[in-house]
């Protein structure tokens, strides 16, 4: 009887120790979590995938990783500027916008179908008579995000090239803040046309073809630099390097490959800032009106 009691007591002690040791807060109390800002990744808030990804990154970096979701690129940019997030997956357009002082640094660029590049598609309902971008004059047009290159900057540039402004060129415009919803708006004929990310359109074409089948691409932009991952300026270089390496090495292990295949990406690569020169040039062309125009459309 006595020996059993002793055994039970020691077992309790071991349990208590184990519980303390395995509590994450207890283990990483020294380092605050890494915060990673995102808009909807690919389609919608696919939370299960985000959990898997954050778990993967946390395991690789031995740091807690918290994914922070926001509706628009602008909100994510605000988080970056204020230091509320350390990293973010943003679009090429906000990346090239001039900031003084610069608050972001290029970390890594996703590789899609062998290159860090993608396009903007101008789409219309599949049964519509529109064949060219100019056919959409006087019609309803859906933009994705006012800070999106493919979903806003590129069609804006097309109008600037025609010396037109969106509010006069189209009868109505609106933002969906989500490329997938732009495809939905066009497929349901709520909009007569829309501008979307080629990566998202192709992603949808393979996962929910019933939606993309109701749309038709009438214009494909030249290739642009793929929406990059950025780090906030001032973040310690160790963390920056750790994140860069972790992401760029994702394609080298099966767990990472599985996550990449879910994203339909080949991997992440180290590319120079010049990749975004085309976008930067477009941003410069439309820059004059930009500040006013965005307020006008978005508010």
């Amino acid at each position: 009887m006595i020996s059993l009691n002793v055994c039970l007591k020691s077992a309790r002690l071991i349990c208590l120790f184990l519980a303390l040791a395995t509590t994450p807060g207890f283990a990483v109390a020294a380092d605050p979590p890494i915060r990673f800002g995102l808009t909807a990744v690919v389609v919608t808030e696919n939370l299960r995938f985000l959990d898997q990804w954050s778990d993967y990154l946390a395991a690789k970096m031995d740091r807690e990783v918290e994914l922070v979701l926001r509706k628009s690129y602008r909100e994510v940019m605000d988080l970056l500027n204020s230091g509320a997030v350390d990293f973010a997956w943003i679009c090429g357009f906000p990346y090239v916008q001039k900031r003084d002082p610069e608050t972001v640094q290029l970390l890594t660029v996703p590789v899609y179908r062998g290159a860090p590049r993608y396009h903007s598609y101008i789409i219309v309902p599949h049964n519509s008579p529109y064949k060219r971008f100019s056919d959409l004059k006087g019609k309803i047009f859906a933009f994705s995000d006012p800070d999106s290159n493919s979903g806003f900057l590129y069609p804006l540039d097309l109008m600037v090239a025609r010396e037109e402004r969106p509010e006069s060129y189209f009868r109505q415009t609106f933002f969906t803040f989500n490329h997938a919803e732009t495809v939905q708006a066009v497929s349901e004929q709520f909009a007569d046309g829309g501008a979307v990310d080629s990566y998202i359109w192709e992603y949808l074409a393979s996962y929910s073809p019933e939606m993309t089948e109701k749309t038709r691409i009438i214009k494909k932009s030249p290739s642009f630099g793929f929406p990059p991952i950025v780090a906030r300026s001032g973040l310690d270089q160790v963390t920056v390097e750790l994140m860069k390496n972790t992401l760029e090495n994702m394609s080298r292990d099966s767990a990472g490959q599985s996550l990449l295949s879910q994203l339909k990406l080949d991997g992440f690569g180290d590319y120079s800032d010049s990749l975004f020169n085309d976008i930067r040039a477009m941003a410069n062309r439309v820059q004059i009106d930009d500040a006013n125009f965005q307020v006008q459309l978005a508010e």
Binding site: I140, Q172, F174, E181, A185
Partner: protein, 485 residues
Amino acid sequence: MPNLNPKSWPLAIKLSLTITAVVTAVGFMIGTVMVIQDWTRAHEVLGEKALLLSESVAITAPKAIVRKDFWSLYLGLKNLRSGSNEIISAMILDAEGRVQAHTNPAKNPMGLRFSPENELEMDLYGQAMGARKPVVFSSGGFNQAGFQEGVIPIFSDQKYLGVVRVRLSVARLYEKAKTSALIVLALVLCFVIIGSALGTLVSRHMVKPLTAVTQGLEAVGRGEMTDFSPISIKGKDEIGRLSVTFNQIMVELAEKKMLEEEVAMSEKLVALGRITAGVAHEVNNPLAGLLNCIDTLRKHPNDKALFERYLPVIDQGLHRIKEIVHNLLVGLRIEEGDEMVGIDHIDKLRDLIKAEIAERDIKIVWENQADRNLSISGKLEQIVYNLLRNAVEVLTDGGVIHCRMYQKGSYLTIEVEDNGPGISAAIRNQLFDPFFTTKSNGTGLGLWVVYRLTQNLEGIIEVESEEGQGTTFHVSVPVARAKAA
């Protein structure tokens, strides 16, 4: 062939039909009321639901309308639709009637004025744009294509921004109402079947004693009372009491009838006895004399004077017996044969009776006013002859006999009047009895035969008499009968 006139249907059928009709009518009425109430309430609930859905859109709409966030408005409507498959259409219009969002964007492009499809829609559109308070539009009527539409005007800081319209289909309600109507119909049919079966049973049970009473009374009408079986008595209500009384009456009637039959039988036996006694007496009297005469003649076979004296007596006695037997045969066999003769045959009786009067001083006055072509029964001739002979027999010298014949209505009346001694009141009742006579040598069968023949001809015989003044016999027989060819 079934009787088509409801008035002559049996009470049991009429009662059960009435019960069935009442059950059916009540069932259908209650069923219809239930279905209509159900439909009305569900309709109202649907209207409230439409308002609620409209309101849910209207709450968030002002911000989106001001910001021109058409996509949010559209997604709001889309979400409504995914939440309720009853939605036919939903739309948000601005103050000028321009589409801000519509569940069917292909037909209702955003930013353009909403264009109603037809006059009804035009009217509803006008009403919706004029609405400044939540209102429900109802298509009304009971059909699958109906709808309930919730209309909510949108205000922001008391500024009118536009209107939300959410239209719900009544198709599901309609299907439900149809199903419940079918269930009610089935229930009513069940009720009708059960009700009419019960009604038939109950009414049969109730009417059964009445049917028995009716059948019993019909049997009484036909004169059949012997095979009467009493009605079983159930309950002490009116029908029960009727049954008891009826049973009593039937028993009494049957007893009375039996009694009457017994009396008639004994009367027959009495009459038969009287006739037999009369025959025995009347025949026996001369027979005794005749046998005496024959005995005396046998003892003195050579006494010629005795033969001379007795043979007429024997002859007279045998003739009397013959007459009695003849009259009995006439009186008893009247049913046999009835040959028709002309009325002039009666006139011939005048001569016949004159011959009987022979030398006596009796006058006959003869008046025949009847139709000359009339045919009469031979029995009437016998009646008149008997009456005339009777008169002749009672009259003494200086007597007068009046014989009158005339038609009155459908009757031929014959009157035979004499001024003889008349009939005393004491014997008037026995006047027509067989073998009753006041005459010393009468057989007492003449008037009995008259009575029997008159009865047979369905005629009436009356006697008027006053002692010392004379007697009149009136005999009336139907002419139709006398005339029959």
